[in-house]
Symmetry: D2
Subunit: 300 residues, 4 copies
Amino acid sequence: MTTIAFLGLGSMGAPMARNLVAAGHAVRVWNRTPERARQVPGAQPAPTPASAAQNADLAVTMLADDRAVEGVTFGPEGLLRTLPPNAIHVGMSTISVALAERLTGAHEAVSRRFVAAPVFGRPEAAEQRMLWIVPGGSEDDIARAAPLFEAVGRGSFPMATPAQAALAKILGNFMIAATCESLAEALALAERAGLEPERLVAMLTGTLFGSPIVQAYGGRIARTEFQPAGFTVPLGLKDVGLALEAGAAHQVPLPLASLLRDHLLAALARGRADWDWSALASVVREGAGLAPTRNGTARA
Amino acid sequence: MTTIAFLGLGSMGAPMARNLVAAGHAVRVWNRTPERARQVPGAQPAPTPASAAQNADLAVTMLADDRAVEGVTFGPEGLLRTLPPNAIHVGMSTISVALAERLTGAHEAVSRRFVAAPVFGRPEAAEQRMLWIVPGGSEDDIARAAPLFEAVGRGSFPMATPAQAALAKILGNFMIAATCESLAEALALAERAGLEPERLVAMLTGTLFGSPIVQAYGGRIARTEFQPAGFTVPLGLKDVGLALEAGAAHQVPLPLASLLRDHLLAALARGRADWDWSALASVVREGAGLAPTRNGTARA
Amino acid sequence: MTTIAFLGLGSMGAPMARNLVAAGHAVRVWNRTPERARQVPGAQPAPTPASAAQNADLAVTMLADDRAVEGVTFGPEGLLRTLPPNAIHVGMSTISVALAERLTGAHEAVSRRFVAAPVFGRPEAAEQRMLWIVPGGSEDDIARAAPLFEAVGRGSFPMATPAQAALAKILGNFMIAATCESLAEALALAERAGLEPERLVAMLTGTLFGSPIVQAYGGRIARTEFQPAGFTVPLGLKDVGLALEAGAAHQVPLPLASLLRDHLLAALARGRADWDWSALASVVREGAGLAPTRNGTARA
Amino acid sequence: MTTIAFLGLGSMGAPMARNLVAAGHAVRVWNRTPERARQVPGAQPAPTPASAAQNADLAVTMLADDRAVEGVTFGPEGLLRTLPPNAIHVGMSTISVALAERLTGAHEAVSRRFVAAPVFGRPEAAEQRMLWIVPGGSEDDIARAAPLFEAVGRGSFPMATPAQAALAKILGNFMIAATCESLAEALALAERAGLEPERLVAMLTGTLFGSPIVQAYGGRIARTEFQPAGFTVPLGLKDVGLALEAGAAHQVPLPLASLLRDHLLAALARGRADWDWSALASVVREGAGLAPTRNGTARA
């Protein structure tokens, strides 16, 4: 049994924490809005990140963005104030490469450990312990966090450093958005040419293109089902921005990422902040003179 | 037993014709350079497309490009001069949407039938009867061509018209090139950041991205193995050009296709005409200050 | 006095032909719709290009596109049937580099001469003899056509061959469209940020950016005055297409031209075929959540 | 006579400060490396920004980037500690829109004034009092800073707020980079087609494109003279980045700016940090299979 502080009980964090409880770990939970602690029966609510991390073996952060992770780590009531010497901070949300590097250094400086372990999967996958995990850090640290990964996921792909794990996750999200863009262009042309979009998706997934990503997003874009969102446009824009930021840091132009950014930004400009990020397809559709969604009003 | 004229014995056509012979059909073969007929034992060589198509039930074209199909169909010794009234011309190479439309009309005008049935798969798949087929035409015509499809492929995804089948194939190739571009950008950034490209590909294919396309091209691009080519840069450029042409005809901007075209054109400008079309990644690499291949000489 | 056959009396051709009459030349005119010959008093109407070119010193073509020039040159009643041995065909409309090469060869083969001499300027400039001319051909031929150029323009920039003159004109039009795109992006951002677009244009033209092109198009785009068109979206799309075609022929990727093509295509998809080509700015505006024109209805 | 604190004596600041001395103002100068104060005879060196700003009527900042301006303004020895109540801080370097807004608010909060007044022009223009100035702030404040502007520039284009002045300057620099990109693509194609690049530039500047920007950069790019730099690649990248940042803040996609960023980043990746920012053309050239410069070694 491991004592785990779990910080952040959003749509991903809550089911992950529940799975940790179910696996028999001692779980202390904290959330910015404390009432969400009720969503994790069997866990012990903590009033601050610092109190949750006290005496913990592992402290997990599953938060919205870099700023939230920084606050919960370095803030006046942050986990670094109390995390025991040998304990590991496991950052499981998507963070920037720069923050992964900063966290690595900051923990080392005070003889604590940091492992980045971002995940692939939506809330349903979190519920079903079906997340894919990309842990990055020393082999020892990753081994010590293994019980955590086993309790929430179905497999992991270790990377050499936290920064590389953060990058791998960011690049995965870039690949998803790129898949959406290519599907969006193909399906807009199909629709204008009278080729039923869902038939084209069936051909793609039935032949050589059949990954879970193409299946999930191909169907969504063919049906132009952009609401409710699984992952919103602003979140997608943030992650594509992290890819561009990492590209700039390493002097790597990413013209396709630039294109994705422009289309996500256009979706935002048109008031679609609560649409799924695959709604970059709605912008592609409008460029082709189609309505943003198939049931919508024609544009031109 | 069906009598089949098979026109075009390149690296795809020859194994397909052999499989037709093996399936027990009466096969007459023609190729621009006649000595290649020897590669299909059991088939009867014909001196011209017209003589091959005489009394045939089906005439298959498997040729390099639009111009070759036009010549073999409409030329002075073309198949349309002799194809029997009820017979079907099955175009299995990748052709433009415009040519698919022209062939449909030209055959109808003389009471012949045209089915476009482009295929997905490389020569190895052709050898092993593992092609995916996308037949487009009337249901009756497609049903009559079924023995042909069964002898060379493992499944088919019918479309309503030859033009739509041509478009579906073109869009499939566009999706492949788009996948290469996204992999190229992700892997260039990974390499510059010290993240082993093959580890990233393993993560992608092991999690949610694992289609045959991502597996095949992810490995190639991670290893920067652009020679020998499975499908060359000029062929890729031609097919992306067909997508852009169809986009223009239907007023659909395809910015990602434009990007692919520019990268393939740059590969050509740098003298890589005999490299695999995934070598658009070599251009992405150079943009990032990397050598075109990992064993090559550094650029900057 | 020179005898000049003038073929094509559109909004550019008619005022040019009038200026030739005014300069004292013997002018024979032909137009596809013959009644337009009335717009050139003092010129002698001819029933066909061939009859117009009979005994002419110079035959000028000022037509819509490549196809029209080909018909008027090579058709059964085309100018090449009658053009005297020493006479020069001067092509003054914008044509493809490939057609310029074909015309050069075809004329040489029958001991006639071809000079490409495309012009910069709109109908008002044609009226006022203020066109800029870019003649391409042998120095002798250009010198012999000088009286023509003097009668219609205010200056010329000779190129070594007809193909180079055609290319220079195409690149000039590319530069105009590129200027429109940069103005469109800058002014869309200015408008969203509350910076009055016309004030920004005044700053640009008043400081270092003040070319006639920036002045003309800056004002148009700032005021979103896309109708009536000086040069329509489809014509702009055609010319950007000629640049991309020349780029492909010489293996030169032109990513900015690709972007322009996509924006012009999107304008067409939205039903703006009769808007000025600077209306690519309307597409940029919509990407930013602005109405296509400032008096239009907001988008999002 | 106005008492002016001049902070930042780089290649732009030093000649500007000299012109202020020449105009009869009392000038106190500070620079991070103090020995540069010697370049402004007649000015009084100050050990810190705070001491320079003491009792000043105007405090001018002419510094490398946002970070430098922030340090000199808000730092422990920053100008805000001593600037008198009625005095104006005039920020003349290119800063982000966000910093312009922050400076405006911070000065208002302590009853000081901020005017952004970025300039167009290179060091030679600074020397000759030929800068163009874009002041943004209240009319009163701009009027009070007029003696400063008169002493260093040849004209000004006032904007309503410091943020708008900052944006106008950023957009001007974006327009310059966009002009370089369009020239680069046109000239690369010209060169590959055998059309002498300098002849094309002569045609452009001689006809409708003849702005100072096209003249200056057209010549540079035609001759591929990227060294010595007037304004380096990293500085250009920074300013294009400021445009993209402002675009993101206002939800305005800027696809051309994204393209410029990618090309500047590629130039950096290839080790051209000390080349002129017009060297984005070197990247365009390489895409076309040309050497980075005309005297360089061919690529392919």
